[in-house]
């Protein structure tokens, strides 16, 4: 794992999805809508990125899919696994460190 210095955007879809699933189980469309709504369109993780990322997380044991009947349709809801929770904690810490570092630089150059 390259948690010490992950490339800035590469881990974002994973971090965001894991964070949203930490609150409650969601299916793909719900996740896409939630990301748009919560970031006020600042962050748009397209469907073409979301699903491969979700299925990759499932293959790595970070999320667990469950079929559930909703609005008369069978939908795949994703929930966080214990490994997913650990991964979320590590990614959050890495992200905070990186964004804190960037903030410090932005702050210092603004003052300078």
């Amino acid at each position: 794992m390259t948690d010490k210095n992950p490339s800035l955007m590469a881990g974002v879809p994973e971090l965001v999805v894991l964070r949203l699933l930490a609150d409650r189980d969601m299916y793909g469309y719900e996740l896409a809508r939630a990301i748009k709504a919560l970031t006020r369109d600042a962050l748009s993780i397209g469907e073409g990125v979301l699903y491969p990322a979700l299925h990759s997380m499932e293959a790595r044991g970070l999320v667990r899919p469950r079929s559930r009947l909703a609005d008369g349709r069978m939908r795949i809801y994703y929930s966080l696994t214990a490994r997913g929770k650990n991964r979320l904690a590590r990614l959050t810490e890495s992200w905070r460190r990186v964004s804190g570092g960037v903030e410090s630089i932005l702050g210092s150059t603004a003052h300078g």
Binding site: Y29, Y51, S56, I76
Partner: protein
């Protein structure tokens, strides 16, 4: 047309090496997502055609989706993840397992029938032909069939051609190195079978010819599959 898109997506994911269940799930979830996007646009008052167009645009093209899936090794089936192993070593194992299983069955069967086989009166040339036919099955038909099956499979999975070709070459060499002797009906000990592996200066020309024959036989279906795929691609472009 919309349903066709998701069927095509499933097929393209399979061809790109995604697992069967993964391709089915991905196509199904993305199709569900598409319908919800369309529903959302219709609820906003957008016309049906425009809603479909918007939804397709939001999902991106099948080509991009497939590329993103294929870029994640954890989503690939074992043959696509380890093509060198799967299409060169595994066919050899399958051939040996098949040969050993059939040989064991044959030896056990012949052992049970040895008394009976002594009494069968078969002209020597027919007896030799029977023994030869069994050898051809073991050393020609089995290796060529196994190698060809793996070759066609690799072609369908869009595995780089070098792996099945190396697999066919390895299979041809292995089959040429194996020597099998059967005496099923004739000779002093009918119902006997023996097998060995090796190469000698004396048998090298015959073994080379056998390797070439098996190789060509195994490559033929691969060549036909490649030719058909090329023709189909040409038709799609027209």
């Amino acid at each position: 047309m919309d349903e066709q898109r998701f069927q095509k997506l499933r097929g393209a994911l399979l061809e790109a090496g995604i697992t069967k269940s993964g391709a089915r799930r991905a196509a199904s979830e993305i199709e569900d997502h598409f319908h919800q996007l369309v529903g959302e646009a219709l609820a906003r008052g957008t016309g049906e055609q425009e809603a479909c167009r918007e939804a397709h645009a939001a999902l991106g093209s099948n080509e991009i989706l497939v590329r993103r899936y294929a870029a994640r090794p954890e989503l690939l089936a074992w043959p696509s993840r380890w093509p060198a192993l799967w299409f060169t070593i595994v066919p050899l194992g399958c051939y040996l397992a098949l040969s050993i299983a059939v040989m064991t069955t044959l030896v056990l069967g012949l052992g049970q029938m040895s008394d009976y086989l002594h009494h069968i009166k078969v002209p020597p040339h027919v007896s030799r032909l029977i023994d030869l036919a069994v050898c051809v099955i073991f050393l020609g038909l089995f290796p060529a069939s196994v190698a060809a099956a793996f070759g066609v499979w690799a072609r369908r999975r869009r595995i780089p051609l070098r792996w099945p070709v190396i697999g066919v070459a390895a299979m041809s060499i292995l089959a040429a190195l194996i020597n099998i002797e059967f005496t099923i009906t004739g000779g002093p000990s009918p119902g006997s079978a023996g097998a060995g592996i090796g190469v000698s200066a004396h048998s090298l020309p015959a073994q080379t010819l056998r390797a070439l024959a098996v190789g060509l036989l195994a490559l033929l279906p691969l060549w036909i599959a490649a030719h058909r795929a090329k023709r189909d691609t040409g038709r799609e472009m027209i």
